[in-house]
Each structure stands twice: as C-alpha cells, then as structure tokens.
Amino acid sequence: MAEGIKDKVAILGMGCSKFGERWDASPSDLMVEAFEECLADAGIERGQIEAAWFGAGIDAFHVGASALPMAIALRLNYIPVTKVENMCATGTEAFRGAVYAVASGACDIALALGVEKLKDTGYGGLPQRSRGVENDMYWPNLSAPGAFAQLATGYRARHRLNKEDLKRAMAHVSVKSHANGAKNPKAHLRREITAQQAIDAPYIAEPIGLYDCCGVSDGSACAIVTTPQIARGLGKERLIAVKALQLAVSNGAESGHESWDGSYLKTTRIAAQRAYDEAGVRKPAEEISMTEVHDCFSITELVTMEDLQLAEEGKGVTAVLDGNFDAEGKLPCQIDGGLKCFGHPIGASGLRMIYENYLQLQGRAGPRQLPDPKLGLNHNLGGFPHQNICSISMIGHM
C-alpha cells in the first residue's frame, strides 16, 4: 500500500484571475493575470520554475492545442510543459501533475495552471461540440444541464421525493452560493437571489432551471508547488500542504450496467473514500472545515454532499434546507460563491477552488473569511453523471 501524498508537497503560491465575461481578455491575458499574482505570492522568479502542467478543457480552438499556448503566454524558460485535459477535472489534473512531480523528486518547483475562454462561442452555455466519431452516432445530443437534470430525476425516484421539495432544496443551494459570491470581488455573478426567483426561473433542462445552473465565464487560476523544506527555506511559515489527491474515472458500468440507478455519483464515493484514507480522515463531517465542490448544477452539489459522506444518504434535502452548508453552517460549502457565481471555465475551476481553500486556510479571505479553518476539500466532476471523472484534493496546515 502506497503511503500517499499527505504532507509531501506544499503550496508556495497561488493566483486567480477575475472570472467573468472577459470580452477584452485573451486566454494569454487571463493566464498572465493569474500567474503574476501567483509568482508574487510565491516570492520566486519565473526562472525558478522547473516544470509546468497546463490544463485547458474544451476544444483546442478556444485556447489552442498542446502546451505551447501557456509556454508562450508566460514566456517559460524552455522547461518541460505538459498539457492535460480531463473534462471538468482538468484544473485539478494540472495540479496533480505538478504535485506528483515535486513529490517524486524530479523537480523542486513546479507550476500548475488552468485556463478556459468560454465566451468566444457567440451564444450562452457551454459550446455545442462533437462527442467523437462513434459516440455521435448514438449518443443523445445532451447538454450539460440535460445530463445533470437526470441526476435530479434519478435521485428523486430513488428516494421517493416529490418534485417541489427537491426543487426547494436545489433553490437553497443556489441562494446560498449567490449570497457568498456577492462578497467576492473575483466572482462573475455578484448578486443575491431569492429562493422564489430560483424556483420560478424557466427550465433549461427539466427540473433544472436557470438559477440551478452555474455561470459560464472566462478565467484562469494557478499554483506553484514545492517541497515543505524548500518552502521553509524560502521563508514561508505556516505551510499549506497537500493532504490528498485522488481521481476516480468511470469504466462504463454506470452507463450500461444495472448496478447503478442514476441517483448518485459513483466516482465521487470512490474518490472520497480514497482521499479520506490518504489524508487520514476518519470522520469527514467533523474533520473537514469547508468544501469547494463541483456545483455545475444545484442538484450536483446536493447529491455530492451525500457522496462525500457530509450528509446522510437520502437526507440531502434536509441537510441543505437546514443550512448545514451555508456560510454560517456546520460545514460551509462554496464560501467563495462556487461555480455558481464564478462560472465554470473548465480548465481553471479545480485550481480556483483550491485557491479559495488556500486563502481561507491562511486567513486571507477578507469579508468571507471563515473562523479558523484547518482542512479544505475540493471536488470536481468532469463529464456526465453516467460517465465521469471525479477529482478530489484536500489541503490543510502542515
């Protein structure tokens, strides 16, 4: 049994661009914005970075294929740069590459950056795109809301809920995130909403309405990682270390075998348990201080709370409506506003979420600062409920 990543790698610095409809910013501009903040935070020079991982999720034409767009934008010094893509888990994948490189001893300082330029499509929502030569022959033309709406119907059927109760809890998820996002200057959507607005909004994909969907925006986030020893040598105190870094990828069973009924996210359950084991967490609901989860849609967040063992199975509606995950609740979720208010520039999101936990752990989160957080969990879900990639990272004090 491998001993895992816990406390082997520290975060030296992080940066995050303003997220939003950045009509005037190119992918390069966004990358530089996040990178400059990150370099300053790390207190190092560009030339000290020995290897980099570059995450961009959707079609090469938005940012460009390969590692070149980042190497060129940041004028990296002919170092190894690896392009990674794993749908919505892309940002965390870039982070994983950099962290593993440092942990292996292959390099001392590594960079992970994610970026996405979604607002060059000419229409709202994620780009309509091919699923590949074979899948296009028989897959429904499903949009992301169309895929995740089915999580709601599957969850509702499994737990015999009525539509109204589930919709009310879904609305609460969004109301909470909007309230948090309103306090965050880097968020895209900074307006509070009411539960009634969320409930009354038109359907995008039944039962998902407009306010059940996260925003669509441009943005970039990045991290520089190193060993704890080097971080201390560079004068860093109270280090923020990686506690767990896990990935679970569907093997097709959910989409084609009756062992899965569509009411939960199998990969999240698997990745969560592995992450808890890696981090040495026994009672997640008590030991974790805050979560940034993949709230691409309100229903995803609600179901994810159960899959992360932070709510009892089938009791997500009650846990949400009781305010457990509100800013003042037992276990705040999306304290920065989440995908809901940041939007979801695919390649950037995972790193944006780690960035918030990193700020919170350092007490640098301003008006939304939580009292004395110790351990933060980040969760991404790429793809669809019936076949997806789940990444979970946990960071905390050394």
Partner: protein
C-alpha cells in the same frame, strides 16, 4: 401451388395535422381550400421518413408471424431519402434480416408497390413488399391538404395464405397526369385526369383481368382504387359494374392519400375486415395500371399484425400547428440557432464498424455471466465479470424497458425542442442513454415503460446524408 398474401402490417405517423390549420393559414390566397377543411392528415415527425415508416410497417407485419424470414424484400416509394444507397438494404438491416436476401428498391411510380407485389407473386420465393411515402407538397396546395404520410407491408408467397392471388394484369402507357422532375409535383387538370386517365385506363386493365380470371365485376367485395380524387372511384366502379358498396375509402379525411404506399395501406386495411371467399380487387393508376385480384381464404381472420391499420390509425394525436408541419417538411427556412451549426458529418468507416448497433440495434449477451449490454464492447460490462470477447449478439430492437432518468433539454440543439432523453433500463438487462420520441409533456417519469423505434437521429444537410438510430417511446 397456391400463392398469395400471408401477412400484412401498416404504420401511420402519430401526428395528425388538422386540415383546418392548413386552411386557416392559406385561405387568404386560395379560398377553395375551405371545401377540404374537414378532417386531418397524417404527418411525419421531424425524425420520421420513408425508411423509418417502412421499418415500422414491416415490423408490424412480421409481428404477426412466428419467425417468418422473407427471402426477398421489395421497398416501394417515390420519396426515398437516398437516390443511390439502397434504401431497402437499410430497411433490411433495421429489421435485422439475414444477409442472404434479394433486396430491391422500386420507385418513380404511384404503382411501384403493386408492380413489386405482382413480381413477387409471380416468382417462386416468399418475400415482403414494403411501401412507404413521405411526399412534400407546396405550401397551401390542394396536395398538401389531401396527402398523408404512411407505410404498409404485405408478405406474400406460397403455402397457407390469407388471400389467394387469383390473377394480375398490367398496362403501360405514358399518360402524364402528374410528374415530379424537381422538388415538387406538377399536375394537370383534375377533370381531364379523371375522364381521360382513370376512366379509360383502369377499366381497360381491370376488364382484361376479370375476363382472364372468369370473374364478374359485380362479385367484387372490395374495390381499392388509390386516388386523391374523391369522386373518381365511384365513377370507375360504375363504369365497370362494380358494386358501389365495395369501394374502399381512400381515408383522405383521416390519414390523407399516401402516394405509392396507398395501394398496400388500403389492401392491408381491407385484409383486416375481409371475410372468407371475398374477392378483393386492387387497381393502381400511374403511367398505366396494375390490377390484382385476390380471394380471401378461410384463414383470413387468423393473422394478427402488431397493431395493423386500425391500430396505428387509432393511435393518433392531434397536431394543430401548421408552422410545425412547414418546419418538419423543410418548407420554410428557420433560424435554428448557433447550436445547430455544428458539423453533422458521418464518418462512413466508423459507421460501418457500428452498423450492428446503429441500424440493427444489436448489443451483446455475456456467455460467462449472462449480462445483456449495449453497445457491445470487447470486455463484458458487468463489474464482477469483465470477460474478454465473451458476448453473443443480442437484439434490443424487440425489447421494452423502463425509464430510469430523463429530462427535457431546452438548451441543446434539437429539431423539435425540448429534446427528451434519458437512461433506459431494458427488460432482461442492458441499459442505455437514449433519445425519446413522441413525448407528450407530462407523460414521462422515472418508471414509465418504453418500446424502441428506428428514427432519424440527425440530418447532415451539407452533404445530403442523414443518420438513423433507435429511440425510446413511452408505451
């Protein structure tokens, strides 16, 4: 050996456009349309065409047999989606018929189906004639009012038959009542077509047939003459001495006249109600005439198709949107939005690898663990098995199932939003995320039962191609 008809089936699209909707939109230009404003006509959904309707009709016919395998398959239409890609072979693969098959497209005539049926009856093999028609007519035309979309199938050959083939007669003459050299039909004056066409050509053909068979016109129990001219069948019957009560209604006000499919559709309808000993005369008109005479046998009432004409006729739903009809028939240029602009290329080599799945809806069943699965991949999908190359071919086309999860997606591109799709769990195992078709708002939920149907999945207007796949329909 006696040859004749051994089975029949039919399909009429669910949507029935109210003819009043056509009148309402077009009477400002042509007030005479008001006289045709009663009743309804069938209309293809956006995802239906000649091939998909043909599959339904043929499957309806095959459902009446226990393991019947036609040796030949004739497919008749004037509206085949492909000018050169044998439509009957697509039909055969969707029906999962064995490859040892004579498959033939018969086209370019309103009597394509009757000529094919004559050829089949005069041959030595058992086979099936499938006729299907999805004609486009100009907006606001009389044809738009009177035509409908439908398909029918007749199985014929030797052995025990429902209706014995007594005899047939054909006549070929280039009487051009109408033609289609471009996108739409062009026709001549109705009265001239009736007087110089139907009233001369049909009696000439039929009288030769009856004479050869030694049958009196007055003894005909069912007289089928496909036409969109309401007064022509009575006039022809009168001239030939056929009892007016024997005339089979052309269903213009319930289905519409279905072109090259009309002769077999009316024949199937007649076979549903014929009594042993009844003489059935089928005459089809178009650059001449085919006339076929059948005598119902004692077995006539024994054949039960899936739904038959009466079943598919009764399964209609009212459609009152003329705008939707125009859109589905590509009679108006619509703004389909930027999401509709993506390339719809079909990669033919990839398609060829997946024909079993895409056209025949075949998956696999694992010999090791028994798990049914679709698509069929190299490793078994059962997490407790995952055996390699362990699956036998397994058909899902005849399976039903239940809806596990579903949605109505208003964001994604669809020709008729919202796009309904979801996860289907098949009876006997196997699960697949599928499109749903013919969904009425509020009629679907987890647990709803479904059957599967061969439909159009996507058009590629840039290249003149269309993709088909199977969709689920709430039962």
């Amino acid at each position: 050996m006696t040859r004749g008809i051994s089975g029949f089936g039919a399909y009429i699209p669910q949507a029935r456009l109210q003819r009043s909707a056509i009148v309402e939109a077009n009477a400002w230009f042509d007030a005479s349309l008001k006289s045709l404003g009663q009743g309804q006509r069938s209309m293809c959904n956006w995802d239906e065409d000649t091939i998909t309707m043909g599959v339904e009709a043929a499957a309806d016919c095959l459902a009446g047999f226990d393991g019947y395998v036609p040796k030949s398959l004739y497919f008749a239409s004037t509206t085949f989606p492909f000018f050169d890609r044998q439509n009957s072979v697509v039909l055969a693969e969707a029906l999962n018929l064995p490859r040892q098959l004579l498959a033939m497209d018969v086209a370019a005539s309103q009597r394509a189906a009757t000529s094919a049926l004559l050829a089949l009856l005069r041959g030595e093999q058992d086979g099936m004639v499938v006729a299907s028609e999805h004609r486009r007519a100009k907006s606001g035309s009389r044809a738009e009012m009177l035509w409908g979309d439908a398909a029918a199938a007749i199985a014929a050959g030797g052995g025990p038959v429902l209706a014995e083939f007594v005899g047939g007669e054909s006549l070929a003459t280039d009487f051009v009542d109408h033609y289609r050299g471009g996108e739409f039909d062009y026709d001549w004056e109705e009265r001239w077509i009736r007087d110089e066409g139907y009233l001369k050509i049909v009696p000439e053909t039929v009288s030769a047939l009856l004479k050869n068979c030694g049958v009196e016109a007055a003894s005909i129990a069912h007289f089928i003459l496909p036409t969109d001219q309401a007064r022509t069948p009575p006039a022809v019957a009168k001239k030939m001495g056929v009892n007016p009560a024997a005339i089979v209604d052309n269903q213009a006000a319930t289905v519409g006249v279905a072109g090259a499919a009309q002769p077999l559709l009316l024949l199937a309808r007649t076979l549903e109600s014929a009594k042993p000993g009844d003489l059935i005369l089928l005459a089809a008109f178009g650059q001449g005439c085919d006339a076929l005479l059948f005598r119902a046998t004692a077995a006539i009432g024994s054949f039960k198709p899936g739904r038959g004409v009466s079943g598919t006729l009764a399964a209609g739903r009212e459609e009152s949107s003329y705008a939707r009809f125009l859109a589905f028939n590509n009679l108006v240029e619509r703004d389909i939005g930027k999401r509709g602009e993506t390339d719809k290329q079909t990669y033919l080599s990839g398609y060829n690898r997946r024909r079993d799945l895409v056209t025949s809806f075949l998956g696999g069943k694992c010999r090791e663990c028994g798990a049914a699965q679709i698509p069929r991949e190299k490793y078994c999908i059962n997490p407790d098995c995952n055996a390699l190359d362990s699956q036998d071919s397994y058909s899902f086309a005849d399976k039903q199932g239940v809806v596990l999860t579903w949605t109505a997606d208003r964001l994604t591109f669809d020709w008729s939003p919202p796009a309904y799709f979801g996860m289907v769990q098949f009876d006997g195992g196997g699960k697949l995320m599928m499109d749903f078709t013919e969904v009425r708002e509020g009629s679907i939920d987890s647990g709803s039962r479904i059957s599967v149907h061969f439909r159009i999945r996507q058009f590629d207007p840039q290249r003149g191609f269309r993709k088909y796949f199977w969709k689920a329909r709430i039962i």
